[in-house]
Subunit: 378 residues, 4 copies
C-alpha cells in the first residue's frame, strides 16, 4: 500500500483544444494523408467502426472503393441472421420504451459461424477490403475461420462497453501467438488509452492500435462505470508510446483514434495529437448507405443486466461521398471531412501526417451554447 | 498572524474525474468488494444513510438480508414517535409552502429514549444488523442505551447540516473513552474531509471514518454556510491519512465516503479514490421500500432559525434489489450499482478494492447539458 | 519596455471556492464577530453601501440600532433634493426604456451642500452612527462640512463605476493631509483590489480599506471597461497587505470587502479570505426599509456618455432584521446572514474572525444550473 | 520524430480575463490612444476589416474623417461589380437556405482590375485614406496597380478562412521584395498568432502585423478545421515578439488584433494585452453606414467546396459615430468604444497605450448565462 497521496492529471478532449497555425501554409492539394497498416496504404485515414448500424457487407465495399475501409463486426446482427433487412427495420421502427428489450431479444440469438465466411466472401467478391472484428474471448474461434475465408485485416476489440473481459492473454504470449498464427494478416488491437498499456500491446507484435474508451455517441460508460479518458490526451499518450517503440525497434505501428469524432475539426485534432488514422461511427451511421437506417447504437446497448447507451436517431443526412469529400453547403464541419483535414494541414504548412504531428496545439475550450459550439478564439 | 498569502488548492468532485483503464481487465464475477468494519464483513460496501426518509427498522432488516446495512437515526422520527406511518404520510402530502414549518413542528417533539431500545430490538429480532447514529452531544446519553439494547455498530455523526456543534471532546480523550466504554462494538465517526482531522480521529481508536460535508442531495450547506469539500478530493485526502496511519500502527480503518453518490460511476470513483465503502441517501430514498414514500430531506431542513435543504421529491422508482443488483433497463447508471462497480473494477483489472485504489484517475470534467451528463471522453 | 512575456495569474470569486471544516467545531453562540474601525466596535461586521437605493437617514439609524451601520452617499439624491419621496417614486415607476434618461435628468440637479449638514444632524439626532461617503474630487469640499456637522466616519470612495478619476492625491500627501485634518474621525478609503495599491493606501494613515471593483449587482464594468477582479482573490491580496503592514507598524487596519455578496456563504467566504467586514448593497436594497422601494441601481447608471449598470428590480423581500438575524424559512442563504456566518465559523472551530482567517479554503467551483447554484461537493 | 510527449499550453480569450486597476487613476480626457503605422498617426486605433459587408468607398471615407480607417477588400464585390447596390440588396434579401449558393454564384464573377484603381481614386478624391487588402497570391498583381492608383496602405492578408494558401514567399525574400517595391507605402501583413511566425514576418520589413485566426463572428474555422488561437494569448505572444524585435532593431511595428472584439471591454483587453490597435468587423457591419445593410459574412462563406461561416444578421443598430464616440444609452459596452477604452485606461492610471501594456491582467472567466455575460468579480 502506497503512502503517497493519489495524484490526478488533467486530460483533454477535442472541444478543449485548438490547432495553432504558424507562418507558413501550403496548398491543400499538395497534402498527403495516407494511412499505412501492415503493407496496405489507405488513401483515406478514416475507418468505419465495427458496429451493426455502421457496417454491413455493402457498406464495406462502398468504403473500400473510396479509399477508406469498414470493420465488419463478427458478433452482431451480420453473423446471427442471414437476412438482416427485417431486423434493422424492426429496430428502426421500435418505440423508445420497447427498443432496449427488443434489442436484448435480437442479440440473444446464437452466432452462426458459417455466416463469418459468407460475409467475408461477399465483401471480397465485390472487390472490397475485408476487415473484421471480434472480442478477445471469441477471437480464438473466429480468427482461424476468418483467415480461412480470406480476410484482409483482423481487429481484436475489447471496449469497456462490451462488458466482456479482455483475458490476461492480451498481455502476454497469447496475443503474440495470434499474431504468429494469422501470418501476413495484420492484427489491430484495442481499445487502449494509456502509455504503458500501449507499450505492452506493441511488444506483442500487432500492426495497429485502437485508442479510446467507448465507441462514441452511442456509449454512456462514464455515467455507469465512471470510466473514461478524453481522446486528445489518450491519443497524445499512446502516440508517445508509438514513437518510443519506433525509436527502439524501428517498427512504426499506426495509432487509430476511435470514438468521439464528429467534425472536420475533431478529425484534424485527432491527427495533430499524434494519430495516424481514426475510426468513426456516428458520422457513417448517418449516411444514406448505412445499414442502421438513420439509427445508431453501441454493442453494450442490448446488455441484459447492465445496458449502457441507447439507440440514437442520427438521421440519414448525407451520402458517403459528401461525408468524406464534399462538396457541401453545410458550414458546421460535419461534411467533407477529408477536405477539412487537408485544409487544416495545409493551413499549418504540414504536407504529411508526420509533419502534422509536430504542429502546435493549445488548450482553448470551446463554449457550447444551445447545442452549438462557438469558437472562443475570436 | 501569518504574513504569507493564503493559498488555495484545487479540489475535485465526481463529475470532474474519470477512471482510466489499463491493458489488463478481468471477469466481473471474479471481483471481490467486501467492506470490513471491526470484525464484520459486508458483501455490499454500500451503507444506507442515517436519515429519516431512508432507514426505518424494516429497511434496516431488508438491507442486512442483501449484504448491505442501514443506519437508524436515533434523533429523528423513529425515536420521537412510536407510530410513524401518519408522520411520514403528512410530510409526503404537505404543500411545498407549508412543508418547512410542518417539519419544524414534527421535529420539535421530544425524543423518547425507550424507543431507542425498541427500534434496536425490532431490528435484531428480525435478523438485521443494528447500526445506529447520534450526534456528539447526545452520544453520551444514547450510546449506553444502545449498547444495553444489543446494538451492533454505533455512528457518531456530526455534519454541518445538523447545525449542532461537535464538542471538543471529539478531539481528545472523550471519544477515546467512548471507544473503551462501547467495548467490542465498532464506532464509526464523522464527518470529516481533510488529512489532519482524519489522523486525529484515527488516533482515538475508532473503527470507521465517514467522509464528506453534508449528506448529499438534501443539503445546501454551500450556499448558506460557504462550506464544502468535493468528495473525490476529500476521499483522496482522508484515504491518504488512513494509509499513513496503517503504515504506522498496523490498524486498517475503513474510509466511507458519505454524500453525493447517485450512479454506478460515482460509486466507482469514490472507491477508486481510496474509499473502502460508501454511504448513500437519495438512491435508497427513491426505493419502493424506503420510509420516505418518495420524498427525501436532510436533518437540517427543520432547523428553526437557519433551515438548510428542502424536502426533495425523489420518487419511488426502483426496488432495493434492482438498485443494488439489477437487472435494469436503464442506461444512466442509477440502477445495478454493484454490477456497475464490479464491471468498472474488472475493466481496470482490479480484483479487490485494495487493487482498485491503485488504478489511475484523471481530471476530465463531464459536460452537463440540459440536465444530462455527457461524457467528454469521446 | 519589458521584453518579458506578460503573465496572467488566475483569480477566484465566491462561487469558485469553499471553506473546509476541520475536526473541531464550536458552538455558534460562542463566536465573536466584532468589526473594529478606529475606536468603534460594530457587533455586525456588515456595512450598507453608500448607494441611493440602499441608505437614507432612516435606514442609517435602523442599521445603527442593530449593531451595523450604513453609508450615506453625499453625491446622490439625498444631497440634491430636500424631499426625496417623489424622486424615489418616479424611479420605481419609470418604464424600462425611459429609466436611464430619467435618471440622467434626476442626477443632473446640483448638490445643495446645506443638505450635507442636515442629513448628518438627522442621523445623529435619532441616535444613529453617521458614516458618509464622497468621491476624491469632492472630498476636499465636503469633508470639512461633514466634520463640522459631527460626522462619525468619512469614506473616500472612488470606484470605476463612478467614471470619476481618483486624483493622484490619493497616493501621496493629500490623503495623508485629509487624515490629519479630520483628526479623530476615522477615514475609510477605496476601492482597491491589489497588494501594492493597498500598501500605498495604508501608508497614508487611513483607518479602513474597501476592497472590490464595482458595487455589485448594479455594475457592468466588466463588459464596458474590461475591468474586474474576483472578490476572493482581491480580499486575499489586500488582507495579505494588511498583515504585512501590521507586522511592520503594529497598526491593524480592517479590510472591508465591498461587492458581490448575496448569501451567507458569500459572506463567510469573504471573511475567511481575510476580510474583517463586508459592505453590501443589493441584499439591503431588497429590505422593506430600504429607500429604493424594491429597486437598486449603481452610481454609474445615470452617466450621460457611458452609462454602466441598470436599474435592477430586487423586490422588497425581507425585513432588515430577518436579513441580518433571521429567523427564516428560506434555505438559499439569503436571510439570517449573521446566523450563517456564526454557524460557518463555529463549524470550522473559529471563535474569532482572526481565527477564521486561518481556516482552509479550496477551489471547488459551484455549478450553476437554471439560475440555481448546486453544490458540487456531494 | 520526437520521443517527447506533446505538451499543451493553456491559452486565453477576452471572456477569460480582466484588467486589474491599481491605486492611481487619471482623467479620461488626458488619455492618448494614437496608433502609428509607418508615418501616419490614427487618432482612433480601430481599423475596419477588409470585408465586403463592412467597407466600401463611402465607408472608408467616413471612417477616415473620424480618425479611423477602413480596409477595402480587392477580391470581393467592390472589384467584381461596378454597381454594387443590387448585389448587396440581393444578399440581404435572400432566404437562409439559398444564401450560400447565391453567394457562391456572386463570388464566381471575375475580378475587374480596372475597378481597383477606380475604388482607390474614389476614396482619395473624397479625402479618405486608401487602405486595401489582397491575398498573397494576388498581391503580386494587385500591389503595383494599387501603388499606381495612389494607395496609402497595403494589407497582405491570408486568413485560414479564405482557404487560400499563403505561399512560402511570405517567409522569405518575396515579402521583403514587396516591401521594397512598394517604397514608402506601409505594408501590413497577417494573420498570425504566434511568437516565431511574428518574428519571421517582422524580419521582412513590414510595417504592421495583423493578429488572429479568422475574422470574428462570421467565421467557423474552429469547427471545420480545428484551428484557433484565443485572441488574448495570441496578442500577448505576438506583442512579446514585437518587443523583442524592437529591442534588437529599434524598429517598433504595431500589432493589430483582428477578430472577436465586440465591446469596449474586449477592446480594452486587446490593447492591455499588448496590441497597438485593433481590426473589427461585426460592430462596423451593424452601423447604418455599412454596405452590408444589416448583414455580415466572411470571405470563406461562398467557398464552393468547404464553405465556412454563414451570413449573419447583425442589424443596423447604431451610427458610426455612436459606435466610436457615443453618447449612448446602452449599458452593455457595444457603443462608445473609444469612451470605454479611455475610461478603462484612465481607471488604471495609463495615459498612453504603452503604459497600458504594463497594466496587470488576471484570469477570471466571465460566466455566460442566457446569452448575457455576467461579471464574476462581484
Amino acid at each position: 500500500m502506497s503512502t503517497n497521496r493519489k495524484e490526478l492529471e488533467r486530460a483533454w478532449s477535442f472541444d478543449d483544444v485548438a490547432i495553432v497555425p504558424g507562418a507558413v501554409t501550403t496548398n491543400p492539394q499538395l497534402v498527403e494523408t495516407k494511412l499505412k497498416i501492415g503493407n496496405h496504404d489507405f488513401d483515406v485515414p478514416i475507418i468505419a467502426s465495427g458496429m451493426d448500424a455502421v457496417v454491413d457487407t455493402k457498406m464495406a465495399v462502398s468504403l473500400s472503393s473510396l479509399g477508406s475501409c469498414g470493420v465488419l463486426n463478427l458478433e452482431g446482427i451480420q453473423t446471427r441472421y442471414r437476412d438482416t433487412d427485417e431486423i434493422f427495420h424492426s429496430i428502426a421502427n421500435a418505440d423508445d420504451n420497447e427498443v432496449t428489450s427488443l434489442m436484448q431479444k435480437i442479440y440473444s440469438k446464437n452466432i452462426d459461424t458459417s455466416l463469418i465466411s459468407q460475409r467475408i466472401h461477399d465483401i471480397k467478391q465485390a472487390g472490397g477490403i475485408a476487415m473484421v472484428s471480434a472480442t478477445p474471448q471469441l477471437t480464438k474461434i473466429f480468427a482461424p475461420i476468418a483467415k480461412e475465408a480470406g480476410v484482409d485485416f483482423f481487429v481484436v476489440q475489447s471496449t469497456v462497453t462490451t462488458a466482456n473481459h479482455v483475458s490476461r492473454s492480451l498481455k502476454g504470449l497469447k496475443l503474440k501467438q495470434l499474431v504468429q498464427e494469422m501470418g501476413s494478416i495484420p492484427i489491430l488491437v484495442g481499445n487502449t488509452v494509456d502509455y504503458s498499456a500501449t507499450i505492452e500491446l506493441l511488444e506483442t507484435g500487432v500492426d495497429g492500435i485502437l485508442v479510446g474508451v467507448g465507441p462514441g455517441a452511442a456509449c454512456t460508460s462514464r455515467e455507469v462505470l465512471g470510466i473514461g479518458m478524453p481522446q486528445v490526451s489518450a491519443t497524445i499518450e499512446t502516440s508517445h508510446a508509438r514513437n518510443v517503440f519506433f525509436e527502439k525497434t524501428g517498427k512504426y505501428v499506426p495509432i487509430i483514434t476511435d470514438g468521439g469524432i464528429r467534425t472536420g475539426g475533431d478529425l484534424s485534432k485527432a491527427i495533430c495529437s499524434g494519430a495516424d488514422g481514426v475510426m468513426i461511427g456516428s458520422p457513417f451511421a448517418s449516411t444514406i448507405e448505412a445499414p442502421g437506417q438513420g439509427y445508431h447504437w453501441g454493442m453494450a446497448t442490448p446488455h441484459t443486466e447492465l445496458p449502457r447507451g441507447t439507440r440514437v436517431k442520427v438521421g440519414q443526412t448525407h451520402t458517403l461521398k459528401s461525408l468524406l469529400f464534399g462538396p457541401t453547403s453545410l458550414t458546421n464541419g460535419t461534411e467533407n471531412l477529408m477536405g477539412a483535414l487537408k485544409t487544416s494541414m495545409a493551413t499549418c504548412g504540414a504536407t504529411t501526417i508526420e509533419e502534422f504531428h509536430s504542429v502546435r496545439m493549445i488548450i482553448a475550450p470551446a463554449i457550447k451554447t444551445e447545442g452549438k459550439i462557438y469558437q472562443i478564439n475570436n
